[in-house]
Assembly symmetry: C2
Homo-oligomer: 489 residues x 2
């Protein structure tokens, strides 16, 4: 059966990173990692394999996993697909924002939707019946229950997600409600600073060195209700990132922002935002990486509805001598051959730099071929796709195919706070365990990390600096993992 070995080998050699050379240190680390992986595959061979479970059910198994420990220890490069209102653990938000005596909450009398706002008592908008959150908690008589309710409101966690969220629309409704609560807090300038700093700290804690996050530019406000421009927001953001990076010179190399429109907005609104993005990109070329459209893709307008706006912006970009790179969310859908998955074709035709999610790319051979030949990386967010009901068993996630076909991907976590995690390690675990057996080893992990720098919006010089910073972290992490394993023997 030499032929059998040849076939398996042949297929293995087509995979992502199949020919990536490993140093002796990397080989030693790989042996340790693959022993852990094999033991874990054997342990879960007949039941409870975490990638086959809903994340809410499998999370505690992953948290206890030696493979997870290993992956957490690795410097994972950049998180290229994050959203600015879902980057920080909800527990921290409850501890900080909701114990601040200047935070108020109200319920919209029509929609019933809750919102939060920091304010001086005398400056609250009169449109809503605001209550002070600290006072409200006290009046409730049960701070623990009160905070637990806040936590429920700001996450999508439930005991039985299958029961609670029978359809994509229903889970998306809860998801967007959770995000909107944080949005109101984070727009308050002092909290914007604290929150954004904390977001980078959580990444560093998970050994992530860089971040690109999508922002919808919710206007910042101060304690008196004054509202600030998006240019001010970008300037402040640039400063927060610079401060944090300066304070973590060996473990963090920066961050960028991607300006996002909401895909259910009317085309002229998106046209305006493209104009604004052009100005911001001229003004903050190192910070503003480009443009995207966000929110649930199925009910939103397809990309082609904004074609006029993109063509107009194209002319403005040429006139200004500035390009706006695109980082389109596209193919975050189970539909085939409908308007919504045609977004993939339009994203490629609009020369997108990366594709957010690209779950449906697997169903389109031409798109698969184009993203490979043009090296358009797909930002794959496995846990998000499962929680938002694109796929249940993550072994069936198309990320497995992308790795097998050597389609360029990066791993990211999308909205980790909404499912009460931070960083990238849980998503790396799902990919590493769920998308291949022995042929998926540290080579793939290393390639995914390299991809997260290579396919980032950093300049070539920034990428070089990033690799120079990442490499000693990688070597040191592997040395420690190997030493610890040897000690145990």
């Amino acid at each position: 059966m030499a032929q059998r070995g040849n076939l398996l080998q042949f297929e293995a050699e087509m995979r992502t990173a199949a020919d990536l050379p490993l140093t002796s240190l990397e080989q030693s680390a790989n042996q340790i990692l693959m022993q852990l992986k094999d033991a874990e595959l054997a342990k879960y061979r007949h039941a409870d394999f975490p990638p086959s479970l809903h994340f809410f059910s499998g999370k505690h198994l992953i948290s206890d996993s030696p493979v997870m420990n290993f992956l957490q220890a690795l410097p994972k490069g950049g998180a290229l697909h994050l959203h600015s209102v879902s980057m920080v653990r909800i527990d921290w938000i409850i501890e900080t924002a909701t114990y601040d005596p200047t935070l108020y909450s109200c319920f919209n009398t029509t929609s019933g939707a809750q919102s939060f706002r920091f304010s001086a008592a005398t400056k609250l908008p009169s449109t809503c019946n605001w209550v002070n959150v600290v006072a409200w908690r006290q009046a409730s008589g049960n701070a623990t229950a009160f905070d637990a309710q806040l936590f429920q409101n700001m996450t999508v966690l439930v005991d039985d997600p299958v029961q609670a969220y029978p359809t994509q629309d229903i889970v998306w409704q809860k998801f967007q409600s959770a995000l909107s609560l944080v949005d109101g807090m984070v727009a308050y300038i002092p909290y914007f600073i604290a929150y954004t700093t904390r977001a980078m700290q959580e990444l560093v804690d998970d050994n992530v060195q860089y971040a690109e996050f999508r922002t919808t530019l919710t206007p910042l406000y101060d304690i008196n209700g004054n509202v600030y421009s998006s240019a001010y927001q970008m300037e402040l953001l640039q400063q927060i990132i610079a401060n944090f990076t300066a304070a973590h010179p060996t473990t963090f190399f920066g961050g960028k922002a991607i300006i996002c429109g909401i895909r259910s907005f009317e085309p002229p609104v998106i046209g305006e935002l493209l104009n604004e993005t052009l100005v911001l990109r001229q003004q903050f070329p190192d910070l503003v990486a480009g443009f995207d459209l966000v929110s649930q893709e199925d009910p939103g307008y397809p990309l082609i509805e904004f074609l006029d706006q993109f063509l107009t912006s194209q002319q403005s970009q040429q006139a200004a001598g500035v390009t706006i790179p695109y980082f389109f969310h596209a193919g975050e859908t189970n539909w085939i051959d409908q308007d919504v998955d045609d977004n993939l074709f339009d994203a490629v035709l609009l020369n997108t730099t990366r594709i957010g999610h690209g779950f449906a790319v697997a169903k389109h051979p031409i798109v698969s071929s184009l993203v490979t030949s043009r090296q358009i990386a797909i930002e794959v967010c496995p846990i998000s796709n499962q929680v938002l009901k694109l796929v249940d068993d993550l072994r069936n996630h198309p990320g497995a195919l992308y790795l097998e076909q050597n389609i360029p991907i990066v791993i990211s976590s999308d909205d980790p706070s909404v499912w009460d995690i931070s960083g990238l390690s849980y998503d790396f675990y799902e990919a590493f365990m769920g998308w291949g057996g022995d042929v998926l080893d540290i080579k793939t992990i290393k390639q995914l990390i390299i991809n997260s720098i290579q396919f980032s919006a950093m300049s070539d010089a920034e990428k070089q600096a990033a690799f120079d910073l990442w490499n000693p972290l990688w070597v040191s992490a592997l040395q420690q993992l190997v030493a610890a394993a040897n000690k145990e023997l």
Copy 2:
């Protein structure tokens, strides 16, 4: 945006059947079909799209669908993936077998498993405490409740399948228990004749003209408990099929059997069965199409464990001048790069004629390439894969990819009686609606039907006769559909 049209067109042209020419009649019928499809896609655009629902929840929507009506009316060729104990509606079994005064039932004292057996009262095996089913029903005082319980026992239907079957193992346990009940009845010679005839009648009622079914050769018995040889069983089967075919000369063209081992059995047992299959194939070359291994693939032995037996059989086959074609179930799993999905490689290396399910083929580019170049058709059974928990949303079923990559497939129904349907139309509906929009039209349907003859185990002469019989049925069905549609206008 000519480029956009080109890209979409280019991808459309890679699909299965993209260049299949259509007659004017087929074009007219296609217009009608695609109007129905578009209306149905629009209707379900925002909720309750049947392929996205569990079949138990979506079935009534499909039953009421005009697209389903259209598909039912079409002559669908052959059902190439069926099992001999799950081919007949359970209602009919309850009405016939369980009202026969010679049917007895008992519960195994150790396992609690129920079995059925036809017998003379004095000839019941003493190993179990048999009760007469007719008397039992009468004693129960509620025939309706009694029969409803029988129906529950012989199907996997439940109100809430997600709740009832949290894992693949659990649904497989219920599934195999349901099958085993029918197995005991169908082995009784008079009922074997009635059941097998009824199975073909149900296929004809759904406009299916041919069947290949897997049988594990449970020994036939008579009213006195005498047991009959597998050669007798094949002779009887051949006669039943010949009689039915003769009685339906314009609507049915025959059937064949595939002998199946159980993949959890020890290799020597499988070796014995291969020997027996060789003899049966020599004796009944027109009936016995080949060999397969069945039952849940994950916990069973991988194919390679039986390699010695296959190599030995290979020698026997050469010595006898007879080949045993293989029709391996393989890749009916969500695992990647494990023993179980390596079955796909071994099936191809053992020169399999077709692959049963091949759900995991999509995850293996080399296997995808080999089945295409060698024209090894994949027997795709969408509803079975959903009920047995390989995939929840059928839009994500790899059948969509197989059509897009022009991998040869046929559509079949596996064990329709266990989810209370018969024929192929429901599975055709899931594929036709779930796996593509406007680019998946009557061309694909026609190709799938042609495939079911082309990739069958029929001889070339039989295939020619089959096409000659099928073609007028096709033309006549389309004429009637077009006429009916014109009448409505």
